[in-house]
Amino acid sequence: MATVKLTNVVKIYDNNVTAVHDFNLDIADKEFVVFVGPSGCGKSTTLRMIAGLEEISGGTVEIDGEVVNDLQPKDRHIAMVFQNYALYPHMTVYDNMAFPLRIKKMPEDEIYERVTHAAEILGITDYLMRKPRALSGGQRQRVAIGRAMVRDSKVFLMDEPLSNLDAKLRNQMRAEIILLRKRLDTTFIYVTHDQTEAMTLGDRIVIMKDGYIMQVGSPEEVFDRPGNLFVAEFIGAPKMNTIKAKLVRGDGEYHVAACGAVLKVGGEKGQMLRDMNVPTQDIILGVRPEHMVLAPEDDANAIDCTLEVNEMMGSEYHLHVVTDDGNKLIVRIPTITLTHDQRESLVPGVKLKVTCEGKVMHFFDTESEVNILYPCQAPIK
């Protein structure tokens, strides 16, 4: 159990590629922090610097108040789970899990106790005498987690632990990690490229791109108040619709002119715009697919569009539509809100009208791509 503090951490590889720029983050004791971002964003590199597997080019990493920059991985009191499990193929499951304890020269009977206890929690007691190659992917990852569990490590690092599993198993293991986290009650740092994992597991999410932190926040924060366009598009599936639009300040009211329609910005967001006295300007309008609705045909202030593809997902429809001026949008409509006739009418080529309320709109600056209402400076575009 420990805090982790990264101050101005930089990673520059030998070929002068900077993988991580000026990374600052305070991780509280027993916090579950998720690093998420597209591949090559530096999330794994940052994790490996914390683990001591990658040299730190600049800045400091502190674990439990102690600067660990120059410590070997073995002296950092961390446990790590790898994407490809990294089980020792010549050892049985038991020996794999006992390995870190044997290295520490712990008495065999205590090792036995710890390993069997961890195996019980993870439900792998029956496989203890098997070799890793006789296990399925999910079982292997459980062993890898078990190997990390048996030690009293200060920080638990996980590097895309579920990426090698199939979708069904991934959902199951995700739930198990949530339970495990409750049981272990220690500091977790988890790396993933999957925003669903990030949203469901993390107390806080660190969204990274090209070696920079784009935003740090709770799942609610990054979803409801994305600081910039990158975060807005990265979090949420399908990704947020973005349209070039104009924010117009009228007589005490704001409107957005987009795709030939004028949408009123009412409620809380309208109030915020008024309070901040935002002038009329070009913006990028962001609206999540699930926040768009079909408008009645006589609604003059809705966006005209044509249905291109209709994906029936079971509980909802994903309608891929093209607006009259060429913008492509996705609209998620819950199946239950549609009548049978309406469903039948959703064939490609049909004309539709879509709209959204002011409270679900996100306004981004066209230049800096920063959220106008909740600015979170993105260092690069």
């Binding site: 001591g52 070997q72 790590m80 990294a86 020792y88 010549h90 390995f99 030690r151």
Partner: protein, 295 residues
């Protein structure tokens, strides 16, 4: 449909034609292989048979002995043969041990660590390895003579020569180490292991075939060496290895008394190596191909 066509006479005929063709080409292949193996095995059979021939000791024009016996083997004990045998054995075992350790450490280092001039060093060793080792003979002799490791004291000198360049034989084992995922090292290091513990406890147990391959090749070099051993021991019988010693019996004035003993000695030399290979050939084959096929 397909079931029926199996019974179609025209298809059957075609099948038989194929079978006959395969059989003919197999016959040719087997004949060639049998001839090659006869050529290959003849000298060994010859030596074994001659070693049991007791009617006389010189070379004869026939292969199967007229009188059989162990005289030649018994008489070996009255010569320096077992001294040479011990010399060879000591040199081979020491070399096998030291060279294996050096090669494995070298390969692991080149496979896992990234340091300045790593590529340069590998290229340099590749080029160095292209020169025949014989080129160094004269200077090596000078050095060893100054160190007092020639003639009767040739064994330690020979061990030095054998292991001196062993770091250059890293190719096969580095190839194997390269196929072992790096995350295994990393996992072990996070688990608390030092670099050395990673090598001895994680990598080497997985690399058993490679270790055995390295030991075997390291053992075989000194066991069968002639040129260096001859050069460094000169004419001192106490410093000779079996190859040099046995060869000294083939001189014009000795060959008639020693020829069958020479054959007996040859058989004894082959025994340990044969046993080693029989026990370890499974690993040896895995080791040779280990770099290419991921285990």
């Amino acid at each position: 449909m397909s079931k029926q066509s199996d019974y179609d006479p025209s298809v059957m005929k075609k099948h038989m034609g194929m079978q006959a063709k395969t059989r003919a080409s197999n016959t040719v292949i087997y004949i060639v292989l049998i001839i090659i193996s006869i050529i290959w095995l003849a000298p060994f059979v010859f030596i074994v048979l001659q070693s049991f021939r007791v009617e006389n000791t010189h070379m004869v024009g026939y292969i199967v002995p007229q009188q059989w016996g162990f005289d030649n083997y018994v008489k070996l004990a009255q010569t320096d043969f077992f001294r040479w045998y011990a010399n060879t054995f000591i040199a081979a075992v020491c070399t096998a041990l030291l060279q294996t350790i050096i090669v494995l450490c070298m390969s692991y280092t080149l496979s896992r660590f990234r340091f300045k001039m790593r590529r340069g060093l590998m290229k340099f060793m590749l080029i160095l390895g292209l020169f025949p080792g014989m080129l160094t003979m004269i200077i090596l002799y000078r050095v060893l003579k100054d160190l007092g490791m020639t003639q009767a004291n040739a064994v330690p000198g020979l061990i030095l020569v054998y292991i001196a360049s062993s770091g250059m034989g890293y190719y096969v084992s580095k190839g194997f180490f390269d196929t072992v995922p790096k995350t295994l090292d990393e996992a072990a290091r996070v688990d608390g292991a030092t670099r050395a513990q990673v090598l001895w406890k994680i990598i080497l147990p997985m690399a058993k075939p490679i270790v055995i391959y390295t030991v075997l090749t390291a053992f075989m070099g000194p066991w069968g060496d002639f040129i260096f051993a001859r050069y460094i021991s000169m004419n001192a019988s106490a410093g000779m290895n079996v190859a040099v010693g046995l060869y000294s019996w083939l001189t014009a004035d000795q060959i008639n008394q020693r020829f069958t003993m020479f054959c007996a000695g040859g058989v004894l030399v082959a025994i340990p190596v044969t046993i080693l290979f029989m026990c370890l050939q499974k690993y040896y084959v895995e080791g040779v191909t280990g770099g290419a096929v991921k285990g």
